[in-house]
C-alpha cells in the first residue's frame, strides 16, 4: 500500500463524515473530508491517489454530477458510491460512468474497508502502470531516428544481418545501434524490450482509455 494513499470522503452529513474518518483511521488510511461535491471539485488535484468515497444524494451537486465532472478532467481516482435504499437506477448509472463500486448505507465496516482497499490497490496499480508507460515513452523519445528504425525492426524479430542489409549498413553498425537502444530503453533482454514497446502502445490513442484503466 502506498503511504500517500488517501481516502477522500464527500458527504454532507457531519456524523457520517466523522465516523468514516474514524473507521479509515483504524486501518491506517489518511482521510480528507469534503462537505459537498463542489468543495471537492474546487480542491481537486490529479496527483491525489487513493480512493474517493462519494455520497450519491447531496444538496447542490449530486454524486453523479461530480463523477461526470471528474471524468471530464480525466481523473483516475477510483470512485466508490454510497447509496441509500432504492437508488439502484442511480447505482447502475454510476457504474456505467466508471465507478469501481457502490455500497448501500448503512454498510458493514469490513465490507467497506475491503472495497476501499481493493480500490486503493487498483489505483496504485493503475498509477504504476501509467507511470511505467510514461517512462517507456520518455525512453522511446530519447532514441535517434536511426535507433528508432532499428528498434522497430528488432521488435519485429529481424536478425542483425537482415537489418544491416535492409538499411544498407554494416552488421557492426547495426550491432552498435542495437546496443545503444537496449541501453537507452534499459532493456534487460529482447523480450523485455518487446514488452515495453507493446505497453507503450496500449492506450496511446484516446483520452477515454486513460480513465478506462480504472475499470474493474
Amino acid at each position: 500500500m502506498s503511504t500517500t494513499a488517501t481516502i477522500f470522503i464527500v458527504d454532507d452529513d457531519p456524523a457520517v463524515q466523522q465516523s468514516l474518518r474514524m473507521l479509515f483511521r483504524s486501518v491506517g488510511y489518511r482521510t480528507e473530508v469534503f462537505n459537498s461535491a463542489q468543495l471537492f471539485l474546487e480542491a481537486f488535484n490529479d496527483q491525489w491517489t487513493g480512493c474517493l468515497v462519494l455520497d450519491m444524494r447531496m444538496p447542490g451537486m449530486s454524486g453523479l454530477e461530480l463523477q461526470q465532472q471528474l471524468n471530464q478532467r480525466q481523473c483516475i481516482l477510483p470512485v466508490i458510491f454510497m447509496t441509500g435504499h432504492g437508488d439502484v437506477p442511480m447505482a447502475v448509472e454510476a457504474m456505467q460512468g466508471g465507478a469501481i463500486d457502490f455500497i448501500q448505507k448503512p454498510f458493514n465496516d469490513q465490507d467497506l474497508i475491503d472495497r476501499v482497499t481493493h480500490a486503493v490497490n487498483k489505483d496504485k496499480r493503475n498509477r504504476e502502470a501509467l507511470g511505467e508507460k510514461n517512462e517507456i515513452r520518455q525512453r522511446l523519445a530519447s532514441l535517434t531516428p536511426r535507433e528508432h528504425e532499428i528498434l522497430d525492426m528488432v521488435v519485429d524479430g529481424k536478425a542483425n544481418k537482415v537489418i544491416a542489409d535492409d538499411l544498407e549498413l554494416s552488421q557492426r553498425t547495426v550491432e552498435i545501434h542495437r546496443a545503444r537502444v537496449m541501453e537507452k530503453m534499459q532493456a534487460t533482454s529482447l523480450a523485455h524490450l518487446v514488452r515495453m514497446v507493446i505497453a507503450a502502445d496500449v492506450g496511446e490513442t484516446s483520452d477515454v482509455g486513460v480513465t478506462r484503466l480504472t475499470r474493474v
Binding site: D13, A15, V16, Q18, S19, L20, M22, L23, R25, S26, V27, R57, M58, P59, G60, S62, M82, G84, H85, G86, K105, P106, F107, D109
Partner: protein, 517 residues
C-alpha cells in the same frame, strides 16, 4: 228548531208592576234579567236581555223560556230544581245557582253561549224565577283563541325544541316555564302552584357540572348589568343524558335599572351539535388521510433521513472497536464516540417522532402560535424530503413575531403540502440552485401571509382552472386531494389560499391567516 211557544203561549199582561227603583235597576243592569213563572213562561224581560237575545219583550212574554234558552228546563232539573209546584227546593226560595253556562238562541236562530244566574222569588205561589243572563260568547271566543294560540305555541316549541321561561323578581309572582322547557330539562314535576320553586336554581341544578359556573356567572351578569345572555352549555337530563342547550335571555328593568323580569328561551341544539360534530369528525378524517398520504409520498426521503444516523452509529461503533483493539484509542475518544452514537440515535428517533406526531390522528385544536415558529417546525419536517431531492429550503421569516390562532399540525400540513408540490414541480428542472423559499410577512390588511415559492415549471392557465378541485392531479401517484384539503383547512381558519406566477419563474403559493392577539 220547532218553537215551543205554540203549545205553551198563554196570553197574560206584562209583569211590570214593579216599583220605579226596581225598574231603573232592571234597565241599568248590564246582564239581562228575566222573570219566569212556574210553567217556564217568560213574564218579564229587561232591556239588556232584549239586546242579548235580539228580541222585543212583547214578542217573548208568555212564551216558554225554552225559545230563548232551550236547555233551561233540563238545567234546572238536573242541577237545582224542577218546575213542579210545591217542590221542596222551590219553596225554599232564594238563589238557586250561578255561573251555569248554556246555549241561547237569538231571533235569527243563531246559537250563542250564555252564563246564567237563577233564583226563586220568595213568598210567591206558584213559584217565579229570576234569571240573570250574561252573553259570554265573546269571552268564550277569546278564551278559545287564547287556548288555540297557547296550544300552537306549545306545538311550535315542541317541534322546534325551544322552551321559554319568565322569572319574576317581585317575590310574589310565580316563575313561568313552558311545557317544552320542562320536558327538555326533564323535570319530573306536577301541575300544582309553586311547583317550579326558584326557577334559576332549578335550571342551574340541571346544568352539566363542568358548565355550571359559567352559566351561573352569565345569569349573575344578566341580573346586574348585562343586556343579554347568549350561551351554549350542556344539561344532564335523567332520560336523555347530555343535551346541548343554546340559551338566550334578557332582563326587563324598571326606571331605576332594577331587573324586574328575566325572560329567556332555551333551544335544544343537541342534534345540530351532533351533526356538526360528525361533520367535524369527517373533516378530521379527510385531513388526517391527507397527512398520511403526504407522508407516504415522503417515505423514501424519510428512510434516507433515518439511514444517515444509522450509518453513522454503525460506523462509529465499529471504528471505535477497531481502534480499541489496536490500542489506538484514548478514553476521551471512546467517550466522545459513544456520545456521538447516542446523539445519532436520538437524531433518528427525532425524525420518527416528527413524522409520527405529524401523522397522528388528532382533533383540530387551535392555539395562539408564532407563525415563524410554525415555519421553523415545518422546515424540520420538510427538510428530509427536500434533502432527498437535493433541494434547499430557504426560510425568510418576518422580522417581528406574528401570532396566529391556528391548529399547528393542520397549518404544517398545508405548508408541507405546498413544499411537496414545489419539490415535485422542480423535479427535472435544470436550476443549479434548486431553492424553495418559505416566507412569513404582515400584509396590507394586517393579516399574516405565508408564501411558498418554487422555481419549477410553473402552473399553466389550463391547470390553474382545475388546481383546487378534489381528485385533480398532475402527478403520477398523487391523490389530487392535497390542495383541496389545504384550502378547506385555511378556510376553516378564516383565511384564504391562492397562487400566482413567480417573477423569477415557477409558482408561488400564498395563504393568509388572521393575526391573533
Amino acid at each position: 228548531m220547532p218553537s215551543p211557544f205554540d203549545q205553551t203561549a198563554v196570553t197574560q199582561g206584562p209583569l211590570r208592576q214593579v216599583q220605579p227603583e226596581l225598574e231603573t235597576l232592571l234597565d241599568a243592569a248590564i246582564d239581562g234579567v228575566m222573570i219566569v213563572d212556574h210553567k217556564g213562561r217568560v213574564r218579564l224581560m229587561s232591556h239588556a236581555a232584549e239586546l242579548i237575545f235580539e228580541r222585543h219583550e212583547n214578542d217573548v212574554l208568555g212564551h216558554n223560556i225554552n225559545v230563548l234558552l232551550p236547555d233551561f228546563d233540563s238545567l234546572l232539573r238536573k242541577h237545582v230544581i224542577s218546575f213542579m209546584p210545591n217542590s221542596g227546593y222551590a219553596r225554599r226560595g232564594q238563589l238557586l245557582g250561578q255561573h251555569h253556562e248554556t246555549i241561547g238562541f237569538r231571533s235569527d236562530g243563531a246559537r250563542f253561549e250564555v252564563e246564567l244566574g237563577v233564583g226563586t222569588i220568595r213568598g210567591i205561589e206558584p213559584s217565579r224565577y229570576v234569571v240573570f243572563v250574561r252573553d259570554i260568547s265573546e269571552r268564550k271566543r277569546r278564551d278559545e283563541a287564547l287556548r288555540r294560540s297557547e296550544a300552537a305555541l306549545h306545538t311550535a316549541q315542541a317541534l322546534a325544541n325551544i322552551g321559554n321561561y319568565v322569572i319574576y323578581n317581585d317575590g310574589a309572582t310565580e316563575d313561568y316555564a313552558s311545557p317544552q322547557l320542562i320536558r327538555m330539562f326533564d323535570w319530573n314535576i306536577g301541575e300544582e302552584e309553586g311547583r317550579l320553586g326558584n326557577l334559576t336554581n332549578r335550571m342551574l341544578a340541571s346544568v352539566h357540572p363542568a358548565d355550571r359556573t359559567a352559566v351561573a356567572q352569565a345569569f349573575a351578569e344578566l341580573e346586574s348589568d348585562a343586556a343579554t345572555v347568549d350561551i351554549n352549555y350542556r344539561i344532564v337530563s335523567a332520560t336523555s343524558g347530555i343535551c346541548y342547550i343554546h340559551h338566550l335571555a334578557q332582563v326587563i328593568r324598571d326606571v331605576h335599572g332594577n331587573a324586574i323580569q328575566h325572560v329567556g328561551t332555551v333551544h335544544d341544539i343537541t342534534e345540530r351539535q351532533l351533526a356538526d360534530y360528525e361533520l367535524q369528525q369527517m373533516q378530521n378524517r379527510i385531513t388526517h388521510s391527507g397527512r398520511v398520504s403526504i407522508l407516504g409520498e415522503m417515505a423514501t426521503g424519510i428512510a434516507h433521513e433515518v439511514n444517515q444516523p444509522l450509518t453513522a452509529i454503525a460506523t462509529y461503533a465499529k471504528a471505535c472497536l477497531r481502534l480499541m483493539n489496536n490500542g489506538d484509542c484514548s478514553t476521551e475518544e471512546i467517550n466522545a464516540t459513544l456520545e456521538q452514537i447516542a446523539q445519532q440515535a436520538l437524531r433518528a428517533g427525532e425524525v420518527i417522532r416528527r413524522m409520527r406526531s405529524f401523522v397522528r390522528y388528532h382533533e383540530a385544536r387551535p392555539e395562539v402560535i408564532d407563525s415563524n415558529h410554525l415555519l421553523e417546525e415545518l422546515v424540520q419536517l420538510a427538510q428530509t424530503d427536500a434533502h432527498y431531492h437535493a433541494m434547499q429550503l430557504v426560510i425568510q421569516p418576518a422580522p417581528q413575531s406574528l401570532l396566529v390562532q391556528a391548529d399547528p399540525v393542520q397549518i404544517q400540513q398545508v405548508l408541507l403540502n405546498l413544499v411537496r408540490n414545489a419539490i415535485d414541480a422542480m423535479q427535472g428542472v435544470n436550476d443549479p440552485e434548486r431553492i424553495i423559499v418559505l416566507q412569513t410577512s404582515l400584509n396590507e390588511e394586517g393579516d399574516v401571509e405565508f408564501m411558498v415559492a418554487d422555481r419549477g415549471h410553473g402552473i399553466s392557465a389550463e391547470i390553474a382552472k382545475e388546481l383546487f378541485n378534489p381528485f385533480y392531479t398532475t402527478k403520477v401517484s398523487g391523490t389530487g386531494l392535497g390542495l383541496s384539503i389545504s384550502q378547506s383547512i385555511i378556510r376553516a381558519h378564516g383565511g384564504k389560499l391562492w397562487h400566482d406566477d413567480n417573477p423569477d419563474g415557477g409558482a408561488r403559493f400564498f395563504f393568509v391567516l388572521p393575526r391573533a392577539g
